[in-house]
Symmetry: C2
Subunit: 394 residues, 2 copies
């Protein structure tokens, strides 16, 4: 009698949550220091101290009614002005406050954008491996999901597969680079070829195909890797951003949607974003957090920890014989399971107290996600276990 | 090609927003002190100082990764425990943390609850006058809205009209007491009769009819008025709460959903709430705010200001010859327009720099909302204008 679909979603425990609970049990049994839990994607570094100082200063200095009051639904104008200035400084894209919409984080950015764009029966393409909630968000918005697998060796886009999946009903493709669960950054060549293909197919179909650029990991890249800014390559782009990972504030729920000014009907799309935010019950993004991030633009937590973790883990595991596409960003490594069934491999890993997540839920069976947003010490201590594990397959 | 419905919602400026913009223009033209703007429902009193102190203390003392990290989707367990204890202390209803779900404010509480309960084509009853976003939220969730007007004299429920509106497709009725836009509190007799009628009709239809108790104004009541706690009278109740008004934190987006343990399938409904929160993109309620409200339970801002405003305004206006149901709570007064067309009346009021909101958007034409969450000084200064205005009708 109530919504069976929503009840089902609420009752279904995610695989990651199951593993985490198993980890809790093991931590009690053998001590936390002996469990190598690589299951969760929570930032492990603290927010920059300046973020906390800014919050306290705003609370102390700003008028309470103004600070904690409703902002406009799109977000406080000075906040949107500061963020669009910052975007322009970095990417010279012609952002304006009138095309920015502050949100309660990346998930909200995605659901609002999807509900703005989708009419019932539209198709949304996701590139596997992909964050499993994309399916939940898109289907709730009325879309049908089509999964296109990336190339196994480097996890760049398989353009033959993508071209075959594009139809006149394709409304959008979600692009997530740096990627969860693989950490892979799509190359400039990939983005250029993607733009070309989408332009060709939308001309052929006489439709608009939007890229939804889901970029919560944009700032988390290592070495001299550049993450191409998709609005610079493809006009019909909506950027979904979040400060969860860059400022280590995932619980505070703050991010934005940026509708590219190069999008032909950008004013209409922005209006639809505002309408969808309203209909889904997002009145405004948390006001203290809006004012805080506006003063912390360009800051990140100390992401050198993630880079160090990435280097230790990637180098050791590939040396041991594991294979993985090189993760240039985020805090994930996506290794190929030494046996076809990644679930069986993850079960076997538990013998060595290694908690890993099978790729099946990410639409990529046969692979396994390792989240390295953990202490470097734990990573170093876990390496012998990884070695013993792969020796079982020799 | 994009969602026309969402675009329409985003482009349509609300009547209240139009009036507010007109007010901005007038404030520039004749000075803010000469414009009597009663259009907005924003708390005008600051958050209790203890709220700000708590926030600062949490930021200073609590580990940053823990404070700003994801909580569980339902909300941090200690927070839910504290709130359910507080609910039980006040209402002895058997609340548990497992039936509480922290939200990004009242709007989120409503959209999540509606999406949890509604199957496409279900009917949701709203009692006019009602908060206009109910229609937006319920229709987006797939429901058809049925409007039942309250009795003109006291704005209590018209049970004949309600009985006629109930069908086997009625999934829920939204009850908002103290009410926006009228400030009226539904009496215990009304709630008892409502429970009796809903029990009778759900038995007759063999269905479940839920009360969605939208209670952001619960703490804002004046004199010795008691607001009946609906779960104590009717089993199938879901409470949607927010701290926006009680703690003057509307921009921070923090509230909860409480599924009554007396609800027969409460575990299923709670699961559906969790599922809907997930599908709509609410990952968790803002964590700093969760921990803050848990330490501020039972606090309110200095609501004596609202009571003083209510008394001055209600006494003067009724003395001048306006009629209104007595507002026992919230910060609204809902007066009968002296002419049938409330829009015409509000236009005429502008001559005296009085900015009022016609009742049409609240489903109650011929009436006008006056928000008295303004300074007492402004109210006192506005009284001669109200007097001149009604004299035009003598």
């Amino acid at each position: 009698m109530i919504s069976e679909k929503m009840m089902g979603l609420g009752k279904k425990r995610s695989v990651i949550r199951e593993i985490f609970e198993y980890g809790n049990k093991r931590r009690q049994e053998i001590g936390a220091e002996n469990v190598f839990d690589f299951s969760l994607g929570n930032p492990s570094i603290p927010a920059p101290e300046f973020v906390n100082e800014t919050m306290k200063r705003l609370i102390t200095e700003k008028d309470s009614v103004a600070l904690h009051g409703y902002t406009s639904a799109q977000g406080a104008l000075p906040v949107r002005q500061a963020i669009s200035d910052h975007i322009n400084k970095r990417f010279s894209i012609g952002a304006t406050p009138d095309l920015l919409y502050m949100t309660c984080g990346a998930a909200a950015s995605l659901t609002i954008t999807l509900n703005a764009l989708i009419n019932s029966g539209d198709e949304v393409i996701v590139l596997a491996p992909f964050f499993p909630e994309y399916r939940v968000f898109a289907e709730k918005a009325g879309a049908e999901i089509k999964v296109v697998k990336c190339r196994e060796n480097d996890l760049q886009i398989d353009f033959t597969a993508l071209e075959n999946a594009l139809t006149k009903n394709t409304k959008a493709i979600i692009v997530n680079s740096p990627n969860n669960p693989s950490g892979v950054v799509l190359s400039e060549d990939t983005i250029k070829e993607l733009a070309e293909l989408l332009n060709k197919k939308s001309a052929e179909f006489g439709t608009d195909i939007y890229i939804i650029a889901d970029e919560p990991y944009r700032e988390l890249v290592y070495g001299d890797v550049e993450v191409p800014y998709i609005p610079s390559y493809y006009n019909n782009t909506v950027v979904c951003y979040s400060y969860s990972k860059s400022l280590s504030l995932p619980g505070e729920r703050i991010g934005y949607i940026f509708v590219s000014p190069r999008l032909e009907n950008c004013t209409d799309v922005y209006a639809a974003v505002c309408g969808a935010g309203r209909a889904l019950g997002f009145v405004c993004a948390p006001s203290l957090l809006q004012y805080t991030v506006a003063e912390c633009l360009g800051l990140t937590g100390d992401i050198s920890v993630y880079e160090k973790n990435r280097n230790i883990l990637y180098n050791a595991l590939t040396e041991y014989g594991y294979t993985a596409a090189k993760p240039d960003g985020a805090f994930y490594l996506f290794i190929k399971s030494p046996e076809a069934d990644a679930n069986a491999f993850c079960e076997r890993a538990k013998k060595y107290e290694l908690l890993l997540v099978p790729g099946d839920d990410f639409g990529f069976p046969g692979y396994v996600r390792i989240s390295y947003c953990v202490s470097t010490e734990m990573i170093e201590k876990s390496l012998p276990s990884f070695l013993k594990l792969i020796k079982e397959y020799r």
